[in-house]
């Protein structure tokens, strides 16, 4: 089966700085890859390249069956629609409520209102928080709202940049459960994290990146964890 992500010698420039200096990486569907490495190693750039948000200047880059080189409008849109990116920024409109935000982004990706409601329920945002403007949420609550958007869009490739940051214990457990469910449902997951213990417990593979290249790629062999939340998966 075709890997979800296939990179060979991928170089990506930020201005004149080679943030990625030749990356070789394959991620299969159903895999949970932990991406670790020091600050400035290229983790975020790698995730953004996989989302077709940054151009790969040279080298091979295939994501979800699309060649990133020469990707034109409609094909690029089709690819991006299947990618869920959880970045440091929320990607939400601060002045809209959680419910409005999740509904808008879910519907933009072709999902319907029911998907949005189910995702909010799953992230425990269906109570009081539902009608609160995103700008007035705490950092952890915002992260949950971003996760709800990701979940509602049902992406085939999850790109999570420091997903545990800012979440409380319950939130982290919930997130781990979601990641496990996603992978079992056939999504490929790449998560960049400094929190080694927590991330390693869910990852099926650990990849170390430094200086814009992969320096270590080892199979951990952990089975995806079972969802811990009492609620049913959406």
């Amino acid at each position: 089966m075709e890997p979800a992500v296939h990179l060979r010698g991928a170089v990506s420039l930020l201005g004149r700085f080679p943030a990625l200096a030749g990356v070789d990486l394959d991620v299969a569907t159903g895999e949970i890859v932990l991406l670790r490495g020091p600050n400035g190693a290229g983790k975020t750039t790698l995730l953004r390249c996989c989302a077709a948000l940054l151009p790969v200047t040279s080298g091979e880059a295939m994501v979800l069956g699309h060649d990133l080189a020469g990707l034109t409008g409609p094909a690029r849109r089709a690819l991006r629609r299947q990618v869920g990116l959880l970045a440091h920024a929320t990607g939400l409109y601060d002045e809209l409520t959680v419910a409005d935000n999740v509904a808008f982004w879910a519907r933009a990706a072709g999902a319907d209102r029911a998907d949005a409601e189910a995702a909010m329920t799953r992230l425990e945002l269906d109570g009081r928080l539902r009608d609160v403007a995103v700008g007035r949420l705490s950092a952890g609550q915002r992260r949950r709202a971003s996760l709800a958007v990701l979940l509602a869009r049902r992406p085939a490739l999850w790109l999570l940049d420091e997903p545990h940051a800012g979440l409380d214990q319950a939130g982290r457990d919930l997130l781990d459960g979601l990641i496990g469910d996603g992978a079992r449902a056939g999504a490929a997951v790449v998560l960049a994290s400094h929190e080694r213990d927590r991330a390693e417990s869910i990852a099926t593979r650990t990849v170390t990146i430094a200086g814009g290249t992969i320096v270590d790629d080892s199979v951990v062999g952990a089975a995806p964890p079972v969802a811990t939340g009492a609620r049913r998966a959406p």
Partner: protein, 240 residues
């Protein structure tokens, strides 16, 4: 002599332009007669009208090259659009200066809201905006793309501005100014066409040089990329 943006071709072109300019100056300032109605001020037209027309041509090339870039995404079109806009901006400034000085001596004021003068001023601001986009500190590909769209939009903007300013002046029945009311004799006509040729040559000459300067800027940007990648990879040593 690989020390700049010259080549045998541009040297010949440059020599032709300079000789042509000298001949043009002789005709414009000495040989051609003063006009009956406009007297000596007609000598400004030999610079005013050619710079204006060539500047419009330069604009047209910028628009065309921008479209070319959007279709082909090749560096050459992008650089061509930028180079043409730069030279066009200089020529437009020359048009404005000569137009204002002519206005000063003929109408007694530096500026009137003549349709053509207003259009030229608008175009000048439009091209300044375009050049501002070209100087944005962005990744080259993105900057080229934004510049190409702005360059493409110069076309319809010019057309819209043309109709708006023309109707604006004619419907308001302000001072109607026709610049072509002078009766031109043979020498004057020859001087005018010589001016067109010389400023055309000047444009092409400058265009080629600016194209090469912008091209070199890109090459300098690319410089040391392999070295930078190797250096970046050395950061990885000892991390795993």
């Amino acid at each position: 002599m690989n020390d700049g943006t010259s080549s045998p071709g541009t040297r010949v072109l440059g020599a032709l332009t300079l000789i042509g300019m000298a001949v043009l100056l002789a005709f414009a300032l000495v040989i051609s007669p003063a006009d009956e109605t406009q007297e000596e001020t007609v000598r400004m037209f030999y610079v005013h009208v050619p710079t204006a027309l060539v500047a419009f041509g330069a604009f047209f090339l910028t628009v065309a090259a921008s479209v070319g870039y959007l279709l082909r995404r090749s560096e050459g079109w992008d650089v061509m659009a930028g180079a043409s806009a730069e030279v066009g901006a200089v020529l437009l400034a020359a048009t404005l200066v000569s137009g204002m000085l002519w206005g000063r001596v003929t109408w007694g004021v530096y500026w009137t809201w003549d349709a053509r003068l207003t259009l030229t001023a608008l175009l000048f601001v439009l091209v300044l905006g375009y050049l501002a986009v070209r100087r944005l500190p962005l990744e080259r590909e993105r900057r080229s793309r934004l510049a190409a769209v702005v360059g493409l939009l110069l076309g319809p903007a010019t057309v819209a501005c043309h109709y708006a300013t023309t109707w604006w002046r004619t419907l308001h029945q302000g001072p109607t100014i026709t610049t072509a009311d002078a009766k031109m004799d043979g020498t004057m006509l020859f001087t005018f066409f010589l001016g067109m040729v010389v400023f055309g040559l000047l444009y092409v000459w400058l265009l080629v040089h600016r194209f090469r300067v912008l091209w070199l800027e890109h090459r300098v940007e690319d410089l040391g990329l392999d070295e930078a990648i190797a250096e970046r990879r050395r950061e990885a040593v000892g991390v795993s």
